[in-house]
Symmetry: C2
Subunit: 243 residues, 2 copies
Amino acid sequence: MQVQQFRPVVIAANAGACGVCNVRRQSVCSAIEDADLARLAEASTTRLLAKGQSFIEEGAPSTDFFNVTAGTVKLYKLLPDGRQQITGFAQTGHFLGLAVSHTYAFSAEALEPVQLCRFSRPKLRAMLDDFPALEKRLLETACSELAAAQDQMLLLGRKTAKERVASFLLSRVKDRSQCCQFNNRIHLPMNRLDIADYLGLTIETVSRTLTMFKRARRIEIPSGSEIIVLDYAWLQQLAAGLY
Amino acid sequence: MQVQQFRPVVIAANAGACGVCNVRRQSVCSAIEDADLARLAEASTTRLLAKGQSFIEEGAPSTDFFNVTAGTVKLYKLLPDGRQQITGFAQTGHFLGLAVSHTYAFSAEALEPVQLCRFSRPKLRAMLDDFPALEKRLLETACSELAAAQDQMLLLGRKTAKERVASFLLSRVKDRSQCCQFNNRIHLPMNRLDIADYLGLTIETVSRTLTMFKRARRIEIPSGSEIIVLDYAWLQQLAAGLY
DNA sequence: CGCACACTTGAACCCCCTCAACCCAAGTGG
DNA sequence: CCACTTGGGTTGAGGGGGTTCAAGTGTGCG
């Protein structure tokens, strides 16, 4: 486990930028009317992160909230001996830092070059007080994350390795289908270790399971970070536990 | 797996009852001012459930929301072949049904005689529109549940059986300490199968681990549903993965 | 008393982990 | 240009933690 340097780059205050932000409609910011975009822009700043840079540390005071505007982030928790559990991957549009507590409940690290919108706690608080629609939107976000977390608990507690990997591939296909048209070609910004730490497995089991799928002609693996789903229905059955 | 009958008992509309509700201050209802309690009482009805009765079914339309006012409830998800994952236990004061989706993401069943406050979706929506403080409170609730879910993912994905059982016992001690004074005597309203399905283990492993703790003089088991924690610090170390 | 049910205990097995070697592509430097 | 290194990924062999299957032990309740 490498020590992460903590040197995010602050580009600029978002003066005027929220109006031209192309991810606004897919994020919580869509709750803010066009007329109030100035307030939103004033409350946020932009950060650029390189791959591997950490920007939320579990246990640290939760002074900031973030909106991912480009790239992919991993959210994870650690045990003292280094065991890691990735609780989720956050992509474009994802809001980070939902926490009633004043310390972060998880850590976050960029898996690829990432762009973030940063809100300080007081400024977010002020925005929430002034725009109830934003609070409603955050509640919706929290609820859907809660549902995803419950799905993941089912996966971690009760699914076999094959079922886990199949579920993971399907979730990647669905994620991709939301932004682009349906596409059976998956890009994986995370490495095998991250996949393993997300699925509660080891790197070897993930690798073995993927090659098993490949040999069964259910997927193709043109490169380490690219996977093509050949038999979507089969993966669905498997992910649902129907063998 | 037994088929649950779906026959909840509706006692009465809560006309006036919210004012004397002794769990209001520990629930989301504390967000409502005394002056507005009439609105709250009008929006809700009370239900009594017997042990084993199910009142939320995964996939069914989420028409109602609930507040547990007495007893313990298990929240769970099922795989088609019957594998069960319990995602949490809800006790007095717990709000149920947080879901942006129009179908429930989980099922719920009473583990002992349970009393519920029921809100219909439209009435809750109306309350939320009229009382922003309630929405804030729900968001806080959702956030703390999210944090708990992340803890559980770490447990399910990366902890050993001993660590899981230790974590479970500690969470029970903490739950109990909140309402009563600190007490190392735990009452377990759920049976061994429920504990197993919560921890991602089998009933036998739970039993074996508990007897292991007992033989090591870390706990006592006066009865099947009672456990006395003798060595709190040891359990803490174990639960944290520090052996 | 005797049945039912929950829990415990024992023995064998197996899925996944651990450990180790190997492959391969991308640097890197002499 | 090529030897060497480095890091991610794959593959193989063996072992172990937890499951499975099965029997035994309460314990409450008719």
